[in-house]
Amino acid sequence: MALNVLEHVLVPKHEILSEEEKKRLLETLNISEKQLPKILLNDPVVKALGAKEGDVIKITRKSPTAGKSFYYRLVVKS
């Protein structure tokens, strides 16, 4: 397709967290990775990033109330 999905206006910034960042995140939130929101392995954005199953994706959203907000999703098989 002519479009890189990551550049679309509706798509916020997605980044893959490194193992270390992932560990730190789960520690600060005091949860296991299964408690994170999910994103499917066949999601167009996941494909574009080349993320693997079990990766955590950090999403930087533009929030109308907070300016910028962070969200995390775990890549899972559909």
């Binding site: 550049e7 509706l10 798509v11 929101p37 499917l40 167009p44 954005v45 109308p64 300016g67």
Partner: protein, 368 residues
């Protein structure tokens, strides 16, 4: 604790305006942090219920007003309560799928927009004909073409014949006429072929029934009725990074779950705003987040969020009571009474607010 960006910006702006010194600024930050912390929801607050009420109450107002706003838009779009229900129920296909297409710089003029409209608007053979004759005796369908419309679409009768031949029909084309011969003497078969020929799409994108060009903020924008995002994005001259559809499932498929979430928020707040209702966007953010936690768009309701509740009693309380109770009885399901509704049902303390916490008392050892 970290302050959100927008508050930080505001504080910075105020500090600059008041010309505060560094130490004063520090004090301001401390005070702002304290106020911010106090204004946050406390653990155990039932934000879901608050969101539900905050959206439903104005929505009841909307029922009474909805149909009065009709006729204002160029393309008839579903508005008001029906649209709001469509969004939260995550319907497979919205009743009026529309796209808003933005154009690249080179095409950002009336001529360019018109050219793209002709590429995306679905053109069928029946749109180009002036008359159709069915010759029952010889098994022939004669289609007399309108030369004006034909040249407008930039097609010739030969092009049409070529497309029809791909559909395994024997076609003879002259300049203004197409004749399709069918080897049958049954009238019904002839009629069937006729409708098939006339509804053949010769130009444009399937599903796009209407396309209207309009000027928005000094830019030429195409609004369509009917949606087919992935096809439109491939067209030369369309700006794919800004082109959007209002079909949540389609957006989720083409652009991913996060885009679908943004679209749910955008569409819901737009619908409410159009009706002159003021719902705090945070309620909509919560609903959109709940609908997309699992990576797929789930409707609010018995097949989605409410149907996925862990507790049998909570599900039975919502809809289809008997179905849930019998199923739970057959499979030996256990209800751990961890959520709200089931505790209301058995008259226990609800795990909301202070009820969420339990006391553990460790008596001091050794001393008397």
């Amino acid at each position: 604790m970290e302050l959100p960006e927008s508050i930080k910006k505001e504080v910075e702006a105020v500090c600059r305006e008041m010309k505060l010194t560094e130490s004063q600024k520090k004090k301001v930050y401390e005070r702002v942090k304290e106020v911010y912390r106090k204004s946050m929801f406390e653990p155990g607050e039932a934000i879901g219920v608050v969101a539900a009420q905050s959206i439903s109450e104005p929505a009841t107002q909307m029922t009474m007003r909805t149909y009065h706003a009709a006729g204002a838009a160029q393309i008839q779009v579903t508005l008001g309560l029906p649209r709001l229900m469509e969004i939260f129920d995550a319907r497979r296909t919205p009743s009026t799928p529309t796209m808003t297409i933005y154009l690249k710089k080179e095409y950002n003029n009336p001529e360019g927009a018109k050219k793209i409209v002709s590429l995306i608007r679905e053109t069928r053979i029946e749109d180009l004909t002036s008359e159709v004759q069915v010759d029952v005796l010889n098994g022939k369908i004669e289609i007399i073409l309108d030369p004006e419309k034909l040249s407008e679409a930039g097609l010739t009768s030969k092009d049409l014949a070529k497309i029809l031949k791909e559909g395994k029909l024997s076609v003879r084309a002259s300049e203004k006429k197409l004749s399709v011969s069918v080897e049958t003497d049954e009238l019904s078969e002839l009629q069937r072929v006729k409708t098939k020929v006339l509804s053949t799409v010769v130009r444009g994108i399937k599903g796009v029934k209407q396309a209207v060009v309009s000027k928005k903020d000094g830019e030429w924008v195409i609004n369509t009725l009917g949606s087919n995002l992935s096809k439109v994005m491939e067209i030369e001259g369309v700006d794919p990074t800004r082109t959007v559809s209002n079909d949540i499932h389609e957006v989720a498929k083409v652009l991913g779950i996060e885009a679908a979430r943004s679209l749910i928020v955008q569409e819901a707040s737009k619908t409410l705003e159009e009706q002159g209702l003021d719902v705090d966007i945070r309620h909509l953010l919560l609903v959109a987040d709940t609908m997309t936690v699992d990576g797929v768009v789930k409707p609010i309701g018995r097949y989605g969020v409410a149907g996925a509740k862990g507790s049998v009693l909570a599900r039975a309380n919502f809809e289809e009571t008997i179905k849930h109770l019998t199923q739970a009885a057959v499979s030996g399901e256990v209800d751990r009474l961890e959520s709200i509704v089931e505790n209301v049902m058995i008259n226990q303390v609800v795990p909301i607010g202070t009820g969420m916490f339990e006391l553990i008392f460790k008596p001091p050892r050794g001393k008397k």
